[in-house]
Amino acid sequence: MPVNAKSMVKVFERPKSLTDVQFTYCPGCHHGLVTRIIAHTIDELGLQERTVVVAPVGCSVSMYEWFHFDGIQASHGRACAVATGIKRVNPHLIVFTYQGDGDLAAIGTAESIHAANRGENITVVFINNQIYGMTGGQMAPTTLIGQWATSCPTGRDPALAGYPIRFAEIVAQLDAPVYVTRQSLYDQKRIMATKRAIKKAFQYQVEDKGYSLVEILANCPTNWRMSPVETNRRLADEVVKSYPLGDLVDRV
């Protein structure tokens, strides 16, 4: 039976907010999922002409090439300060940072916490994959106890390197943030929950509510040296024990 194109309903397409430029993420990496979710969200909320991405240093360093809206590259750790400057000058813009654990929770700790504490009306998307991806798998502030990384070759030892830092909890105890949540991507249900969280965070910014942090437990198949399927299992079985999922703050 011939297919009538007119009778077909398009249920999946490339978000308009994504350009044709190919991602540089490794196969199986969750970064690609989140990048797509953000683009989809911006489409849904009709924000393409108002949105600005502040790209970090890390695997998403050139992510402004992938989005079909304005973008800026920040120096390592300073994305929240850069976002502050943009948003204060032009509050009409929808400004988000996209940062990894090294960027947000190590070198950029001060900028990340103080932007949250000032209640900057920005959205912070925080990819917590417990490792430095772009530089080749060094220990991150979020690396689990005992986890192997190239700069802790016998596993993370708390006597030497402290404990996994729970950034969402640190931000959640501040007075200003309106929405702080931790999500993951290890199965379809979690992906949908992450999508809802990102949308809510952007929606709050549109409504001038204030600062949001969406922490996302993500994988790094390359540097964890696992298959993508194994990384999902590890996230579900081990990583969530150190980083409980769910909303920590929702003041709206």
Binding site: V54, V61, Y64, F69, G71, R78, A81, G85, V89, E111
Partner: protein
């Protein structure tokens, strides 16, 4: 300098307290809101310069100020501003160093300011006022040059300028809305292609092309923006080269020397980058010596020697650690070479 910034159309100031420039930050805290501008006391100098980076990218005339140790912290940000072709005005009220040093006047940051204190191949226009009225003039100029060439511009003051008072006449304020549009700015991609602000170009050919283009702009700055002052040089046999507060002190030394029959002149660079090599070269052909006086161990003197190239003597006299040379100190040095 803060008021000059506001009058130049600056509507976004980000700073962090450090002596001897706290008055500037406090003035901005009080007055920026009155003109609908943005003032943020940042969590660090690093954050402040990166807020400038964001605000400048969003199209605003932006400014930050600090003093030596704080400027060191801003150096990474300055490199990124230069690499992303973003205009910003920075004020460095230089104090004694290195390290925490002290809060007395000094000129130990000349190398950092003029030779690239941050990483990479970049330049920054550096303006060195000698008086408070000139500080105002140069802050206004700094915003013009920053926008015209899309470069960070530093006003290199010192602890003496930062802590003194002089009567001034302010120029008429610039209306920020009347400034030329910035089509490259991050304003939301409405009806145009997305704008991208970045200093990251992985492909060496692309980075090279961008750097070459920027170097051409630097060359244009060197051709068009050199500023300096010559004082009593027409018949001089000896010239003092000095910038900033020291040049002001040297002016008194010139008067004293002249009253004793010594034909002393003064060359004062106003832009220390681009540096006035040509006028120094010209002077070196007709004077016996050019004495460089600085509040450091000898930094600008390297540029003077480059210009003079052994056509004249190029002695150096410096005061360190926050000590300020007196006119008598300079005269005494001058006499060593006048004989």
């Amino acid at each position: 300098m803060a008021e000059a910034g506001i009058r130049a159309g600056c509507r976004a100031y980000f700073g962090y307290p450090i002596t001897p420039q706290n008055e500037l930050l406090e003035y901005m805290a009080a007055h920026m809101p009155k003109v609908g501008g943005i003032f943020i006391q940042a969590e660090s100098e690093v954050a402040a310069i990166n807020m400038c980076y964001g605000a400048s990218a969003a199209g605003a005339r932006t400014m930050t100020s600090s003093s030596s140790p704080g400027i060191s912290l801003k150096m990474e940000g300055i490199s990124y501003l230069a690499g992303a072709d973003l205009p910003t005005v920075l004020i460095n009220v230089v104090r004694g160093g290195p390290g925490l040093g002290n809060i007395a006047p000094a000129q130990g940051d000349y190398f950092q300011a003029t030779k690239g204190g941050g990483h990479g191949d970049y330049r920054m226009i550096v303006l060195a006022p000698a008086t408070i009225p000139e500080s105002i003039e140069l802050v206004m100029l700094a915003f013009e040059l920053a926008d015209r060439y899309r470069v960070p511009v530093m006003v290199l003051a010192d602890g003496m300028l930062g802590q003194m008072m002089e009567p001034v006449l302010f120029p008429e304020p610039v209306d920020p809305a009347a400034l030329p549009a910035k089509p490259w700015a991050i304003t939301g991609a409405r009806g145009r292609r997305p704008n991208r602000i970045s200093s990251y170009f992985l492909d060496p050919a692309e980075l090279s092309a961008r750097n070459v283009k920027r170097q051409r702009r630097y060359q244009q700055i060197e051709e068009q923006e050199i500023r300096y002052e010559e004082h009593e040089t027409a018949d001089a046999t000896l010239v003092v080269a000095a910038y900033g507060s020291v040049a002001r002190i040297a002016r008194t030394a010139v008067r004293m020397a002249r009253s004793e029959g010594i034909k002393l002149g003064l060359l004062r660079p106003i832009t220390v980058w681009p540096f006035p090599y040509s006028p120094l070269r010209a002077l070196s052909r007709r004077v016996d010596a050019i004495l460089t006086v600085e509040m450091n161990a000898g930094q600008m003197v390297e540029d003077v020697r480059l210009a003079v190239a052994e056509r004249a003597e190029t002695p150096f006299y410096g005061k360190l650690g926050g000590l300020v040379p007196t006119p008598k100190d300079i005269l005494r040095e001058v006499k060593r070479y006048a004989s």
